[in-house]
């Protein structure tokens, strides 16, 4: 076998130009496929990052009514939704892939937060537990976070994110200043920010709303022990989980919501805990982009077919040219299988080499596409390996007929062939 491969290379090398031209069809086909697949993969990763945020492996589990999150603001607390206990929170940590779990309560707010005369027109207020900042990968940019005594002594302290800081204080140093939330005075002790910067690439207006509507509104955080001062007791809580990787969001989120749903005893059975499944949303969008690109792959596949026919053609020429050699080999005792193997190996080596060159060209092409259009490309190693293996299979399939022809040559006629 190794011997056959060595001989094949020798044979291909002795007809450099012809071999290259024969491989060209395969090279173009494979290069096109690799370039397309890399672009698809790049786009998909971009979509995933845009939606989920790079490096932020958190998933929120919230109370839903039907398909939308439960509207606390209008309807009040539903019956039968218990307070999530510390034990339940700890149970979450036992779910595989979960690295951290925190409880929080949150509300959309309009004109309830003020600093002097400046109000926060839109935004969210969060009542957070001690672990929340850590779970969600927040870092303290200025001032301090919440400490144990803030919780225990029901201190009215608040943390701001960068947006709310900008909107309320407009450049002023917020630390130590008092803001008003639901007419209650809260002292700002710190400004927090996400450790991984969420910078989505915006391709259209719809995406603009998806990514920036929320991000451009401010958020204000208070200790959850002071939440009742603002909104009363028995607030249904939400859960946030930090996972080891983005890919495990769906599974872990589902498991966590199942655990929480066990404790529910509501009459309206559409009220349920659900994990916000950004991964699934991302995948749905990916599918859309994929279906258009599948077409392109089919077109590239046609190029491979044409390439394969080219290989068959040149192999047939090669068999005719080497009739005498085949005749001699058969005369001195080579079995049919040996001749078949020799020519199949040659075809497979030819196309595999073409596939390999195609992969390299395809990667180069993908990089060029990336440079020119500014889209992300991601080289898929399995796709590259598959491409080479597939080229080899093309060689074997299209080499079969010529090889069979060679193996069945009559040595007497073949030897006499001039």
């Amino acid at each position: 076998m190794l011997e056959n491969i060595r001989l094949s290379f020798q044979g291909l090398w002795s007809h450099k130009m012809r071999s290259f031209l024969t491989m060209l069809g395969i090279i173009i086909g494979i290069a096109a496929i690799i370039a397309i697949v890399s672009t698809i993969k790049g786009t998909n990763e971009q979509i995933k990052e845009n939606l989920i945020g790079s490096g932020d492996n958190t998933v929120n589990v919230q109370l839903y009514q039907g398909d939308s999150s439960y509207g606390m603001d209008y309807m009040g607390v539903p019956d039968g939704v218990p307070v999530i206990s510390e034990e339940t929170r700890k149970q979450m940590l036992d779910i595989v892939h979960v690295e951290g779990a925190s409880l929080y309560t949150s509300r959309e707010v309009y004109n309830v937060i003020y600093y002097q005369n400046v109000g926060l027109s839109g935004g969210k207020i969060y009542g957070i537990d001690m672990n929340y900042l850590n779970t969600c990968n927040y870092i303290i940019k200025k001032g301090r976070g919440f400490c144990d005594s803030d919780y225990k002594k029901f201190r009215k302290v608040a943390l701001l994110d960068e947006n709310s800081t900008e909107m309320l204080f407009q450049g002023e140093d917020p630390i130590g200043k008092t803001i008003e939330i639901q007419q209650e005075p809260y002292v700002v002790v710190g400004v927090i920010t996400k450790s991984a910067k969420f910078e989505p690439v915006i391709n259209n207006m719809e995406e603009y709303y998806t990514y920036y509507a929320e991000a451009s509104n401010g958020a204000v955080y208070v200790p959850d022990t002071t939440w009742p001062l603002l909104y009363g007791y028995d607030e249904p809580q939400s859960l946030v989980l930090r996972l080891d990787s983005v890919d495990n969001m769906t599974v872990a989120g589902r498991e966590a919501s199942n655990l929480l749903n066990v404790g529910l005893s509501v009459t309206d059975d559409t009220i349920k805990y659900k994990a916000d499944d950004l991964l699934k949303q991302a995948e749905d969008i990916q599918k859309l982009s994929q279906s258009t690109n599948t077409m392109l792959i089919w077109i590239a596949g046609i190029s491979l077919l044409v390439g394969g026919i080219g290989v068959m053609n040149i192999m047939l020429v090669s068999v005719t040219e080497r009739t005498q050699e085949i005749g001699l080999k058969k005369a001195i005792g080579a079995r049919k299988g040996k001749i078949l193997g020799q020519f199949l190996t040659e075809a497979a080596v030819l196309t595999s080499l073409g596939g390999l060159i195609g992969v390299i060209v395809g990667i180069a092409l993908a990089e060029i596409i990336s440079k020119v259009t500014g889209t992300l490309v991601s080289i898929s190693v399995p796709a590259a390996i598959l491409a080479v293996v597939f080229s080899m299979i093309i060689g074997i399939i299209f080499g079969l007929l010529p090889s069979y022809k060679a193996a069945n040559l009559n040595p007497i006629d073949a030897l006499r062939h001039e």
Binding site: E3, E325, L328, A331, I332, G333, A334, K336, I412, L415
Partner: protein, 230 residues
């Protein structure tokens, strides 16, 4: 007995016409013999050689090669018979031009499944035996006609076949290299190699110990060297 051909007939189909080429051929060759099959072109001698060489099957008759019934063999077994029992030497050498003398000689060994190291060793020995020990890594294009034929003989001998089958071995050579090849055959025969040679050249045939004449598909006479010389 190495070769035993009994009542061999061979017909060729030409359009709707059946052309008989060999008619009732009987031929026996003992181990260590040196036989020349002689006949003009069209006499059927090449067809006979193809049958002896297990490249072709007769229309009827029986053929035993070293006790084995060749005509009962399948294609695969015919290949193996050619590989192990017959060494071919052709008029036009039939060397692979892109490969070295060594690789050419080692080719049948690779089909016989001999390991690479041993192949190299045995191929070198075979080349030394035909006096080309210093041309091991030469390609056929770098060799003279006589040297090419020696490489071909080394290739034929490398698997220690039961018979050496030569088809006009000097046909493409000048008379001097031709004589050297004949001397080599002589030496090999003296070392115990059975040789069957096909030729139309009386002078070449006369080097053999025994001459078989074939004309129009019939063996007309068998003679020894002395008879041929007359």
């Amino acid at each position: 007995m190495i070769l035993d051909l009994q009542n061999i007939y061979k017909d060729y189909q030409q359009d709707k016409l059946v052309v008989p080429v060999l008619k009732d051929i009987c031929l026996q060759v003992e181990e260590g013999e040196y036989v020349a099959i002689m006949g003009p072109s069209g006499s059927g001698k090449t067809t006979l050689m193809n049958i002896i060489g297990c490249l072709d099957r007769p229309t009827s008759g029986s053929y035993q090669l070293a006790g084995e019934d060749v005509l009962k063999c399948k294609d695969k077994d015919m290949s193996d018979l050619r590989l192990r029992s017959i060494g071919f030497v052709f008029q036009s050498f039939q060397l692979l031009s892109r490969q070295t003398a060594m690789d050419n000689v080692a080719l049948p060994l690779s089909y016989a499944g001999v390991k690479k190291k041993e192949r190299k060793q045995r191929a070198t020995q075979a080349l030394e035996r035909v006096g080309l020990g210093d041309r091991v890594n030469f390609r056929p294009t770098q060799l003279s006609g006589g040297q090419k034929q020696r490489v071909a003989i080394a290739r034929a001998m490398v698997n220690n076949p039961k018979i050496l089958l030569a088809d006009e071995p000097t046909g493409a050579l000048d008379s001097k290299s031709g004589e050297q090849i004949m001397e080599l055959f002589q030496t090999l025969n003296e070392e115990g190699v059975t040789i069957v040679m096909i030729t139309h050249d009386r002078k070449i045939a006369s080097k053999a110990k025994r001459i078989v004449h074939i004309i129009d598909g019939i063996i007309t006479e068998e003679g020894n060297k002395e008879e041929a010389d007359e």
